[in-house]
């Protein structure tokens, strides 16, 4: 069963068709990259998958379940985790607090009023484990504002991992990173590959082609090609519409 299926999904903004009859199937445990030039509709696609945008037509399903009408939190609860292109973290909180919030979400409702959440091992231990996975444990007590850009991106990933997702949606995780930071992120993702289904949206072509099992190319709201890295690289349509255009 596919981890995520988009079936003839359409999203219009006025006259603009930001998602134009998109059909896509992401297989279980696959690392699937989505690439495309600016304005191709990648952000719209993420919005549609996470539930922040409501499609004008078509269906979306996850693990065989139709989630088209589900809210953002409900999809998250069902195992969809994401990172943001521009880091969105709770500023006044420490790195560990941020991750613990995701752990807490995973544990169900949070209507517990009197126990100090910062002292609950059930929240803090998994949070520290997630920080460990992204090599950020030594920065656990730092406030988000004190972290470097690269560290914030790692933290984003830790938050996403902490909820033990079935499907991980990464929105340009390398954006704005230096070479060294990018390499560390690629290594992190390589370590995750095959363990969770990952949808990776990324501009860094080297990263994409070295990591992805399959790649989909989005141009002007349409998927023009889906296939393994080599097939995409050699596809004439892709080359002319996108890779060629850039080269």
């Amino acid at each position: 069963m596919s981890a995520l299926v988009l079936d003839h999904v359409v999203k219009r903004f006025g006259a603009l068709r930001a998602a134009d009859d998109v059909s896509l199937a992401i297989e279980d445990k696959e690392l699937h990259a989505i690439i495309g030039p600016n304005g191709a509709g990648k952000t719209t696609l993420i919005g549609l998958v996470t539930g922040e945008l409501v499609p004008n037509g078509g269906r979306i399903s996850m693990q065989g379940q139709d989630i088209t009408d589900w809210t953002v939190p409900r999809r998250a609860q069902a195992g969809l985790a994401r990172s943001f292109q521009i880091t969105r973290l709770c500023e006044g909180f420490s790195a560990e607090d941020n991750v613990a919030l995701a752990v807490q979400a995973k544990l169900g409702h949070s209507f517990r009023f009197l126990r100090n959440a910062r002292k609950e091992p059930a929240l803090r231990e998994p949070a520290r484990a997630a920080l460990q996975r992204v090599d950020l444990l030594d920065r656990a007590d730092r406030l988000v504002g004190e972290l470097s850009h690269g560290e914030k991106r790692q933290l984003e990933l830790a938050i996403a991992l902490a909820s033990e997702p079935r499907l991980l949606l990464l929105d340009e995780p390398m954006a704005g990173m230096g070479q060294e930071e990018s390499q560390r992120m690629v290594a992190l993702l390589a370590g995750l590959k095959g363990k969770i289904t990952i949808v990776l949206i990324e501009h860094d072509m080297d990263a994409v082609f070295s990591l992805a099992d399959r790649i989909s190319v989005l141009v002007a709201g349409r998927v023009i090609k889906t296939g393994p890295a080599e097939a995409v690289r050699s596809d004439a349509a892709v080359r002319s519409a996108y890779l060629g255009g850039e080269a």
Binding site: T50, E91, G92, L101, Q104
Partner: protein, 326 residues
Amino acid sequence: MTDRWKLLRSILIVAAAVALIALPFVAAMLGSTYAITLATRLLIYAMVATGLNLILGYGGLVSFGHAAYFGLGGYTVAILAFHLGEGTSILGFPGTNEALVAWPLAMVVSGLAALVFGALSLRTSGVYFIMITLAFAQMTYYVFVALKYYGGDDGLSLARRNTLGGARIVDAQTFYFVCLALLALVIGVVQRMTVSRFGMVLSGARADERRMMAIGYSPYRYRLTAFVIAGMTAGLGGALWANLARFVSPDMMAWTKSGDFLAMAILGGLTSIAGPVIGAAAFILIESTLSGLTEYWQVIFGPIVVAVALFAPRGLWGMLAGKQER
């Protein structure tokens, strides 16, 4: 947070607690019962501001109608006492003068109102939220102004204070300690809430709503819960106020009162537990001193409020704490 600041903070808190406990005795020694009355007023406002701070400071929700819940709490106590005096019943229940019945009921009434108003208001955000909370408070205000049976805008007097477990709370000192104990309880509960799972979600949703939704929370439910808790706290404050003033009137729900509560919370410092208490104290002391000093008190008080908004966004406690807390 440095150890020096931690020590200083502990000393300050202990000193404040000692001062609050000693105050009535000192006042009695100096023969100034007024100081006790004033301090009781302060405690009650501090309680309301503490509740408000939960949604304002931690939840980031600017409720411009908090006076409505304060007023409803006060009216609950007054109406129950009124029916006891008249020997009539309300909705099938006889009136009562027992605090153990009236005060929880005041919290229930205010909480229910907050539940209904909050459920509708929280569909909006930003300025819309500010204005819709104001609108609900105004509606409540006008209803009580027109409620002739309960005195309309002339208000309703209480013949005597509520009894507490059958015992009368006659003197100002006892009532002061009742208020102090309840304030301590409210502060304790709110303080624990802010670091609980619930509080973490509430603060998280203020910091970044989209992020919180992306990891699986619907902020609405948590905000509504906080809104109701804040409303209930205001209701308890109103119930105590009715006992202090032995009088309630729609004036308790006026929009300017909501503005006063906001000013108190901000003046002291949001997202701190000490803030609302300091804010309420400063607000009351400044306002009553100024209006005793000059009839044109507004000309001085207004700019003070402006200055706080402009130059002390973290309030008095924030200024004191400097960079130590955020």
